[in-house]
């Protein structure tokens, strides 16, 4: 039986951290309880907050995270035969971002695939890669999640009086940031155990309006009509709707992932949920009666890096995973559950991995 192991990870965030105080100067304040509920103290942007100029772009970040992941795995780019990349904010509608990363890595040929499922994308990508690797089609895969949200935030505040900015527009500026994370997977025909055990995914918003809607630059309306809009791309976040339904998605993701991976919740040592320790999420879980036996069994095991890295969409799972691994929170022998959720059209994906890789020195 071929096992598919995670043998390295890498993460990258651009520039210096941006404090919440600086965001308040740009877009005006939030009520204390709202700001504290978001639980984000810093974020990183690829734009210069003062001018909106791009200091780098999504493909740069994805490439840098990929290089760090390959370094940690002790591999060269040439060892990769499959790249899967998840993003919602590519450099261009086409060509796919994954092929720009392929080019930057110096790979003339390799299999590539791009996924657009937001925060669930990387976990879906891990499962797709697992199937290809287990079946022997490919041997080494790179799964990347990267996100560049700050370019869409800039028009909200550039040249504006911060106090005239609406709270619904302020909140995304406090929440979102940029970054990329990458995970290297390798098929091991001789391994008896370890690695990716199984995964689950489902989109459960077929009867529900979008929690986040990024409008503009697509083909939903004539371009000459779109050009009349105040902002070319408008990020509409239904904060209340997302707050109500995200906990439902998270608890369902956990339960479904356990079932599909055929593991018992008590055997899970750590569980990555990008919003897992956020004040509004924990409050909502209790209010909605969703603090299930499984959620309680994971008490103290749920981890994320949201407060120090910001909300980074597709990058959240691989970036927070990399952060935990390099800090020594995840060690060989740990059983780790990875949960990615996406509040645009309510997509979840979860995977369980028996961790085998020792963290890189230093």
């Amino acid at each position: 039986m071929t096992a598919v192991h995670i043998i390295g990870t890498g993460g990258y965030q651009p520039g210096d951290p941006i404090s919440t105080e600086e965001i308040a100067r740009l877009v005006g304040p939030l009520p204390d309880e709202v700001r504290e509920g978001l639980s984000i103290e810093r974020r990183f942007w690829m734009i210069d907050p003062a001018t909106g100029e791009h200091r780098e772009n999504n493909s740069d970040m994805a490439y840098k995270a990929a290089v760090r992941a390959l370094d940690s795995a002790g591999l060269e780019a040439g060892d990769i035969d499959l790249i899967i990349l998840a993003t919602g904010t590519p450099d261009y509608p086409l060509p796919p971002l994954v092929n720009m990363v392929q080019e930057r890595l110096g790979l003339v040929r390799c299999a590539t695939l791009e996924i657009r499922s937001g925060g669930a994308g990387v976990v879906q990508g891990l499962d797709v890669a697992r199937m290809y690797l287990e079946s022997g089609v490919y041997k080494t895969a790179l799964v990347i999640g990267s996100e560049a949200i700050s370019p869409v935030l800039a028009p909200i505040f550039l040249g504006k009086d911060p106090y005239k900015i609406r709270m619904r527009d302020r909140m995304p500026v406090y929440m979102f940031g940029d970054g990329a994370g990458a995970i290297v997977l390798r098929a091991d025909e001789k391994a008896e155990s370890g690695g990716l055990l199984g995964a689950a995914m489902e989109a459960i918003g077929g009867d529900r309006k979008a929690g986040i809607h990024s409008v503009g630059g697509g083909t939903h309306a004539p371009i000459h009509e779109q050009l009349k809009a105040k902002r070319l791309v408008d990020l509409k976040v239904d904060v209340v709707g997302a707050g109500d339904f995200t906990p439902v998605m998270v608890t369902e993701a956990i339960s479904s992932t356990l079932r599909h991976s055929k593991v018992d919740v008590d055997s899970v040592d750590l569980c990555l949920v990008p919003e897992g320790n956020v004040g509004w999420m924990l409050d909502a879980l209790q209010e909605l009666g969703l603090d299930t036996a499984e959620w309680k069994a994971l008490d103290g095991k749920v981890f994320d890096s949201l407060s120090t890295m910001g909300a980074v969409g597709c990058a959240a799972v691989p970036l927070f995973l990399d952060d935990a691994w390099r800090r020594g929170r995840i060690k060989p022998g740990d059983r780790v559950m990875l949960v990615g959720v996406e509040s645009t059209k309510w997509i979840y994906a979860g995977a369980v991995v028996d961790w085998t890789a020792a963290a890189p020195a230093g």
Partner: protein, 133 residues
């Protein structure tokens, strides 16, 4: 605090929080139905009033003020239609409503849809008077 100061602050808060045009924000305009406010915008309006007038009103207090401390089971019947007792309370804080026309028809969930810019001025006046005591 005089009524004109409050009216001016409420108008400014509503205009900025909703991105509304000045001529839309008239005393009789309802915040939710006419001006399209959602719950996050109500939070925004209250936060702006806290900063301009120094009067902090929690979002939850808005509904409590409208209901006037009447318990849910007295305020509405088993189908959540607002009772005569409930309507009498609503008339106090929203004097513009036609209680005869609403008798037996008004669902509890529709109550906030009747709340106008002028009613918000009334709430702020009420809170300012309490603070002054």
């Amino acid at each position: 605090m005089d009524r004109n100061t409050i009216i001016e602050a409420v108008n400014e808060a509503v205009i900025d929080a909703l991105g509304a045009e000045t001529d839309e924000v008239v005393p009789e305009a309802t915040l939710l139905d006419d001006l399209g406010a959602e719950s996050i915008d109500l939070l925004d309006i209250l936060f702006r009033l806290e900063r301009s007038l120094g009067i902090k009103i929690q979002a939850a207090e808005l509904a409590a003020y409208v209901q006037g401390g009447i318990p849910d089971e007295e305020f509405g019947d088993e189908n959540e239609i607002v009772s005569a007792v409930g309507l009498a309370q609503l008339k106090k804080v929203m004097p513009q409503i036609d209680t005869d026309a609403l008798t037996g028809k008004l669902q509890a969930t529709q109550v906030m849809g009747l709340f106008t810019v002028d009613n918000l001025v009334g709430l702020v006046e009420h809170r300012a008077a309490l603070a002054a005591v």
